[in-house]
Amino acid sequence: MSETETAGTNSKRSPAPAGGMDPRLLWEQALAQAKLREANFSTLSGVPLEPLYGPDDVQLDYQRDLGYPGEYPFTRGVHPSMYRGRLWTMRQFAGFGSSKQTNERFKFLLEHGQTGLSTAFDFPTLMGYDSDHERSLGEVGQVGVAISSLMDMETLLEGIPMDRVSTSMTINGPAPILLAFYIAAGENQGVDPKLLRGTVQNDILKEYQAQNAWLVKCEPALRMITDVMEYCAQHVPKWNSISISGYHIREAGSTAAQELAFTLANGMEYVRRGIAVGMDVDAFAPRLSFFFDAHLDFFEEVAKFRAARRIWARKLRNEFGAKDPRSWMLRFHTQTAGVSLTAQQPENNIVRTALEAFSAVLGGTQSLHTNSMDETLALPTEKAAKIALRTQQIIAEETEAAHVIDPLAGSYFVESQTNRLEEEAEAYFLEIEKRGGVVSCIEQGYIQREIHHSALEYQLAVERKQKKVVGVNIHVEELDAAPEIELLRIDSEVERGQHERLAELRKKRDSSKAQAELDAVRDACRDGGNLLERFVAAAHANCTLGEIAEVLRQEFGEYEEPRII
């Protein structure tokens, strides 16, 4: 089908310029005569690419635009020593079935050298329903672990020293409730909340834009987020109160520039909200963290991470007046791109993931999740999860790439992509402002529509073979329709087990105390008291996730998505 012959830009290099002819002109002539593989070349996001980048393509003031690692504008990294000091945290997202099963997987990963925990919850938990709710039927424990109560959270963390392990929890709508379970579980383990380290995703704006696991309407949801920011600043100071996430925006189909722009726009909205409730920006901004996708376009991704750091530093210092350098620093977690994996020839996914992970490392990530090869088919098996972790360990230990900070800086190509992405993001910031801000853009469906259009364009490009996917539209094998790899299955027993645990919990607890705490939550919804404080008390009284969330749904109203299709 396609020619493999390449028009190498260097292969036709002429001998020494004759008669002083401009070497660039000579090269351009040679290029013009070469046979090319394609008519157009573009990034994964569809942005046209030049065959060669040089000094004319990059306007750069070293100190202004790059600086030194650990210094404004942090383009080169947030720490002076970067991975020479400490490698990134290898944090594999895990969760399935019951809290007991996930507890075992956590211990397995810790035993194999993982350095932090990351929890995936099932859909009922993500949407604020107990496992025994009617809407949870068939979904309990399927895409993550089922956590309906403090008791489930305690089982999840049994035998794991909560003062020594950092934990990330991917949850948003009901994030403050799950964080309350975590704080309460720590207290029951005898751990002072001040020692708890970790992150709760708690980024509701991108839920409305892309991931779609919401609980209540926009404004009350944002109020709960500032409640978490305030409570954490006081009581759980080492906790990252929010992880502003581009991952889901990208996975929903956005381009790299859209991922960057919408994520940072959301981040700025949280900063505005924090300031609006009277907090000093430097009191909470250092605890904001970010989460990006690492997709297959290696250079565009490295540039994206670098641009993200620079934009955030500039905004926080210049627009929000933050004084503390830690407020300017964009620290981020990265996950390799789930959407880039194929169900066809699934072993190839190991290679895709390795390349993506490498871009995250060269982009200076603080922590990393590498996807397992079987994730387009089911949740990962133990074997697949281990290969994914080993992939990071190979990058860290064998490639010698972690010894030099920001090694691609100064590449004409990478610097020009970094500049280009910053410019594209700035254009989106203006557009969002023109449309009345992020919340207004969500209500109009503007951001959702932008993402949808990019997703559709990419799908059509794959179908027209303008974008290639090995095993899907090129190098297809007819026989691979039924991949012969082992798959993880979630037993329906998990759902039944959860029903029993919940029934037992409701029988055993002091029901008048539980009711009193739910009433206190309702009061706080109305009088503006800090909701996270109430949730912690409700967690100790064994109120369930669904019960607390139901109060919120009643008081604040459920969110309804605008139609864009």
């Binding site: 809407r135 068939g138 089911a378 949740l379 179908e463």
Partner: protein
């Protein structure tokens, strides 16, 4: 001009992954079909009710939550309850080959996995509907 195929694209359950559903809705519309998209977080009852009210020929479900073994049969049952047993039920998502075969053997649906070209889905729907309408002797 032939009769236009009416398709309901549905997202049952709590699953929020709607990239595929929106993409397929847009593509089927480009193929000249009338497409109604339910939006997210629908119960099987809600989907069947919309199918009834919108008088659709086809219901396509997108499920990436692992709950397909529960949701496909429940949507099928709710359709039948409303006298919509004739509606062509199809769908796709993260569904293992084994589960696909099981669902297809139970006569629920023809399913499409990851990597399927959207044009193939549109063509399949059209062929199926043409067959059905011929059998019903409805003028095309």
């Amino acid at each position: 001009m032939g009769r236009r195929i009416r398709v309901l694209v549905g997202k049952p359950g709590l699953d929020g992954h709607d990239r595929g559903a929106k993409t397929i809705a847009a593509v089927l519309r480009d193929h000249g079909m009338e497409v109604i998209y339910t939006g997210l977080h629908q119960t099987p009852e809600m989907i069947a009710e919309t199918a009834l009210q919108e008088d659709v020929d086809v219901v396509g479900l997108s499920i990436l939550s692992g709950a397909h073994m529960t949701l496909f049969p429940r949507v099928r049952a709710e359709l039948e309850k409303r006298g919509l047993g004739h509606v062509l039920l199809t769908g796709g998502g993260i569904i293992s080959k084994e589960d696909m075969q099981a669902l297809e053997e139970h006569g629920y649906v023809q399913l499409f996995g990851p990597g399927t070209a959207t044009d193939d889905i549109a063509d399949w729907i059209r062929e199926e509907m043409v067959k059905r309408w011929k059998n019903e002797e409805i003028p095309l």
